[in-house]
Subunit: 212 residues, 2 copies
DNA sequence: ACCTGAACACCGTTCAAGT
DNA sequence: ACCTGAACACCGTTCAAGT
């Protein structure tokens, strides 16, 4: 989680220890770190291959040794995002009593992650990576996150906390609601309406649970 | 609704009647038509100012007389989209019995519009226009569409078709669900799950109504 | 008032060449 | 095996100049 300025300062500083050789060693990892820093600090649209190369201190064509094209780098950033989001939701679910309260905490954690990592979330669900046919790892990460939601619903049904019904259709609808609410919040569409994000998260969560 | 090829052929054809003068006359309208055709036929990412100028047969800087920058052109395309979507939903609501069935038809119409005008929908809700602070007309169009939804919910409450509660919070949640489901469908995220879009639309609609 | 042409600072990507 | 440099085909945008 180094700041972008750290990389840039390192490159500008003549006392920066020279690389062991002409070869970088772990350029792939450096590129990913730099990419994440750019997204975090300058937003999704600032994530260009050339900017990443510049901040990493390599030529603009060096990244092509490690990523097929720009989209592959973006996909790697998104994949990290899915894994971090899954972990954040998992922590929220574990942190307290189970059952319906745990489910509520999970739903809230989803939207809070989107708000706290707005640019990353946009990349995860942006049009560029919408088609995941050629990105099987990314598709698996996303599907894994969906599975957590569906399994949570199944357990709630088994315990009788929510009514019966097609758990998968419920999960897709819940996901759609979370994603939609996250986007509305990120885009500031809810400012005009004058409600706090906590109110909106609570409303969406309760409507979903009541509907189930 | 002319195809892009029509504009391009017109430019390539030496028999195309020359413009009345050095001035185009209604370049703004032509640019908007061409932009809509490009979005429809080549997708949202193909909508560049230079491509629009080329297809319209003017220099690449001519559009700047009519649009402050690229974003202003994109916003104009989005605005047309909001108006057409509002009209499509209105037609669906009117076409049949009122009350809850009309509300269901409206919700379905929203998602069907998104599916049938996928690229346009992406532009309407894309990150580029997310911040509408400097686009008051666009903000008004979007808020108008939201108002239709909220008023529909209020009427359903008055008739007792759905339970009481904060209509605005219900409307935002419903909008989030529609938008989220539309995006999941457009992005093909639902393919992996193997349900038809009709099933998904029905599930989302029923869960929302039950929750209300 | 409206449009053009040249220019600038960016992109992604390819390909031959360097170490 | 990994990285560089030059090149190509794109962008958005500005500014002086043409009609």
């Amino acid at each position: 989680m180094l700041a972008l300025s750290t990389y840039l300062a390192r490159m500008a500083n003549p006392r920066t220890p020279r690389r062991r050789s002409y070869h970088h060693g772990d350029l792939r990892l450096t590129l990913l770190d730099v990419a994440a820093a750019i997204v975090r600090e300058q937003g999704a649209e600032a994530l260009t291959l050339r900017a990443v190369a510049r901040a990493a201190g390599v030529s603009q064509t060096a990244p092509y040794r490690h990523f097929k094209d720009r989209r592959a780098l973006v996909a790697a950033v998104a994949q990290e995002g899915f894994e971090r989001m899954g972990a954040a939701i998992g922590r929220a679910v574990e942190r307290g009593p189970g059952g319906l309260p745990a489910f509520r905490r999970g739903l809230s954690a989803y939207i809070r992650f989107a708000q706290q990592h707005a640019a990353e979330y946009r990349i995860m669900f942006g049009p560029e990576l919408a088609n995941r046919e050629d990105l099987p790892e990314l598709a698996a990460s996303a599907l894994g996150a969906f599975g957590i939601l569906r399994d949570g619903i199944v357990r709630l049904q088994q315990s009788g906390a929510i009514g019966p019904g097609d758990a998968e259709l419920m999960a897709i609808t819940a996901w759609a609601t979370l994603h939609g609410m996250a986007m509305l919040l990120l885009d500031g569409q809810t400012h005009a309406i004058g409600r706090t994000s906590d109110e909106l998260i609570a409303a969406a969560t309760e409507l979903l649970i009541t509907g189930m």
